[in-house]
């Protein structure tokens, strides 16, 4: 046994020497856990608070202010909008700008004073059941907590019974079925993971094998090489999309878009998202020096894509800095588009910002990738 010790040492030292040469691998080994720690420690909140809400009051008295105050006291929601019409409120919810919409009917104060236990409507965006549960928790305390002082001041009968009722409406996913939320989101993760990783090696592989030299000595331009290399993967991405959506429909009864306009919006989102991922992979492959590095960079990209995009945890429950990071990641926008089209009947007009963001991402990243591609080896 003593005889093998020097040989073990030889291999061990060689391994360390090679590890030291590969700086990026080294950096990744250190940076990855740090990033994970920061994300899990600071960004992720299993009990999201300060979710955006809107209160629409048809009642002319100051009762709305009291409802707003009571809602905000719970800490679960921040009332960010005071819409003036049902349409306005509906649009805020449909476009995902608020998680919760409260509607106070016109004769609310009058009936409250008469002790008729009037109703207010609480609509939650249940396309994300987890976040909706948080928002609805805030609503559940309203009848006992809100308006206590106002009722006494107005001379209403002193009573411990709830003075009014809250009618809860879980929109887009009334049964709060999590596959409706997870499966469309998974489409974004699957597309990112496979497409970014596959194309991240596209150029790196040619460089490693030496075939890049042949390719560059031909009349093909960088743009021609890039388009030629990426187009087959657009097909791969589309096939994946069809498979995932088909399974979502058959196995989990996930709703599909219901109108041609909805399908069109979804198709636009999918194509932009696929092209965006491919461009990002291509950019990585122009940066990575080896296929291993390309793989690591792709993994590095997946981490925020899963945790800061709204896939694993409600986006609106993230702290502001994490939301800013999340807005840069294309998955975030794609999740809004795909959930919007499938669950919320969104059309192009509803997802303008997200489509625009994806479009900008494609332009910036494809431009950078092209800028880094050269017709020469220097």
């Amino acid at each position: 046994m003593t005889g093998s010790l020097p040989r073990i040492l030889a291999v061990l030292l060689k391994e360390f020497t090679q590890l030291r040469r590969d700086r990026i691998t080294y950096a990744m080994i250190l940076v990855m856990p740090v990033m994970q720690l920061l994300i899990f420690g600071y960004a992720i909140n299993m009990d999201p608070r300060h979710l955006p809400a809107a209160v629409l009051s048809h009642d002319t008295s100051t009762v709305a202010d009291s409802v707003v105050a009571a809602l905000e006291r719970t800490g679960y929601v921040d009332v960010r909008y005071l819409p003036r019409s049902d349409e306005e409120l509906d649009q805020l919810i449909r476009r995902g700008q608020v998680m919760l919409g409260i509607t106070i009917p016109p004769d609310f104060t009058r009936r409250l004073l008469k002790g008729e236990r009037p109703q207010i409507l609480a609509e939650a965006d249940a396309s994300d059941p987890q976040a909706a549960a948080g928002a609805l928790a805030a609503v559940s305390v309203l009848p006992t907590e809100a308006l206590r002082h106002e009722r006494l001041g107005l001379g209403a009968p002193r009573s411990t019974a709830p003075a009014f009722e809250v009618v809860v409406h879980r929109r887009y996913n009334p049964e709060s079925r999590s596959p409706f939320h997870i499966v469309p989101g998974l489409l974004g993760i699957i597309l990112s993971m496979t497409l970014v990783m596959m194309t991240a090696m596209a150029v790196t592989r040619e460089r490693e094998r030496g075939t890049m030299e042949t390719l560059l000595s031909t009349p093909a331009t960088p743009a021609e090489i890039m388009v030629g290399k990426l187009t087959p993967y657009v097909v791969v991405g589309l096939v994946q999309t069809v498979v995932v959506l088909g399974m979502a429909r058959v196995l989990f009864s996930v709703p599909m878009a219901r109108t041609p306009a909805g399908w069109l919006a979804l198709a636009c989102g999918i194509v932009l998202f696929i092209v965006g991922n491919l461009s990002l992979g291509y950019l990585i492959s122009t940066l990575a020096r080896s296929q291993l590095q390309a793989m690591q960079m792709s993994m590095f990209y997946m981490l925020p894509s899963i945790f800061l995009s709204g896939f694993a945890f409600p986006f609106l429950g993230l702290p502001p800095w994490a939301r800013v990071l999340g807005e840069i990641i294309p998955v975030t926008h794609f999740l809004r588009i795909v959930r919007g089209a499938l669950l919320k009947d969104q059309v192009l007009a509803d997802m303008g910002n997200d489509l625009l963001a994806l479009g900008l991402f494609v332009l910036a990243v494809a431009g950078a990738a092209l800028g880094r591609s050269r017709t020469t080896l220097d």
């Binding site: 075939t211 890049m212 000595s217 009349p219």
Partner: protein, 308 residues
């Protein structure tokens, strides 16, 4: 029609602070085969890459195929075939697929015919369905030549095309090169083999990024001013390293049981040989070989670098 296929002057290229190609000027006549020699790391590959537009020169001017080589790199690329030092076609594609790809990327018409013709011409037709990665060295090199000449270029740049290839395959390869040159193709080929150098019409010798000798093999040997003696006799090969250190001797190398001793000054060389001019050794003056000349050139250049 320009008689010179390549006429480039003052070529320079640095990578960081390494000055890899220094003021190299190359003139190659159309239809000639020019051998490019020099030790490893002397700048041969870089020079070839500069000429085919794979690298951008820091300075230099001139024409390749009659076109300004800095401004019209793309047009030059279309008419140039470049064969890389390392096999650089797709190993996971068949011969036919590789050639079809090259034909397409060059936008050639009659693709199928051209690919078949080329496969036949280089004796690759029976192997057309094999994966390129499964070929042995000699066949790979033939495939690479097929790919580099498929678009019928006017200029062919070959970077150590026969490294690691057996003598028979090398001979066939050179026969093919001569056939192509006879059809009017201009060839610039880098090599380490002296026998290959002697098969070129012209030779350029590059060292530390500088082109230090140019011309036909005979002219280079003649201009070197080198005097070479051949020593024979039992055990003389063991005297080579002693002779190499003697004054007036530039190089002394054993060739089997014989030794080549070269120097620039005849008197000094003869003086150095005096101790060995005895039985059983026999000495005769021979014309220096190309290799003797290059080894002497390498030594001289090194001395100049150290003294200047």
């Amino acid at each position: 029609m320009n008689a010179r296929a390549i006429d480039v002057r003052g070529l320079n290229k640095s990578f960081g602070d390494r000055h890899v190609v220094r003021d190299v000027s190359i003139a190659v006549d159309t239809g000639r085969i020019t051998g490019f020699l020099g030790p490893n790391g002397s700048g041969k590959t870089t020079t070839l890459r500069l000429l085919c537009g794979l690298l951008t020169p820091d300075s230099g001017e001139g024409t390749v195929l009659g076109m300004d080589f800095r401004a019209r790199g793309d047009a030059i690329k279309r008419q140039t075939g470049y064969m890389t030092q390392k096999f650089s076609l797709y190993e996971d594609m068949t011969l036919e697929e590789n050639l079809a790809f090259v034909a397409r990327v060059h936008g050639l018409d009659n693709r199928r015919e051209r690919v078949e013709d080329t496969l036949h011409r280089l004796g690759l037709f029976d192997r057309r369905q094999q994966l390129a990665g499964a070929l042995s060295g000699g066949w790979k090199q033939r495939l690479a030549l097929a790919a580099a000449t498929l678009h019928q270029p006017r200029l062919l740049l070959l970077d150590e095309p026969t490294a690691g290839v057996d003598p028979k395959a090398r001979r066939e390869f050179w026969d093919e090169i001569h056939t192509l040159a006879a059809e009017g193709l201009t060839v610039l080929v880098s090599t380490h083999y002296m026998d290959e150098a002697e098969r070129c019409h012209d030779i350029g010798y590059i060292l530390y990024g500088r082109l230090i000798a140019r011309g036909t093999a005979d002219a280079i040997i003649r201009d070197s001013g080198l005097v070479t003696f051949l020593g024979e006799g039992p055990g003389i090969d063991r005297a080579a390293h002693l002779l190499a250190r003697a004054d007036g001797v530039l190089s002394a190398s054993a060739f089997g049981a014989a030794v080549h001793v070269s120097g620039l000054k005849r008197e000094a060389l003869e003086a150095a040989l005096v101790p060995w001019r005895k039985e059983p050794f026999r000495w005769s003056e021979v014309p220096p070989s190309l290799e003797d000349v290059f080894i002497q050139l390498m030594g001289r250049e090194r001395d100049e670098r150290y003294t200047s």
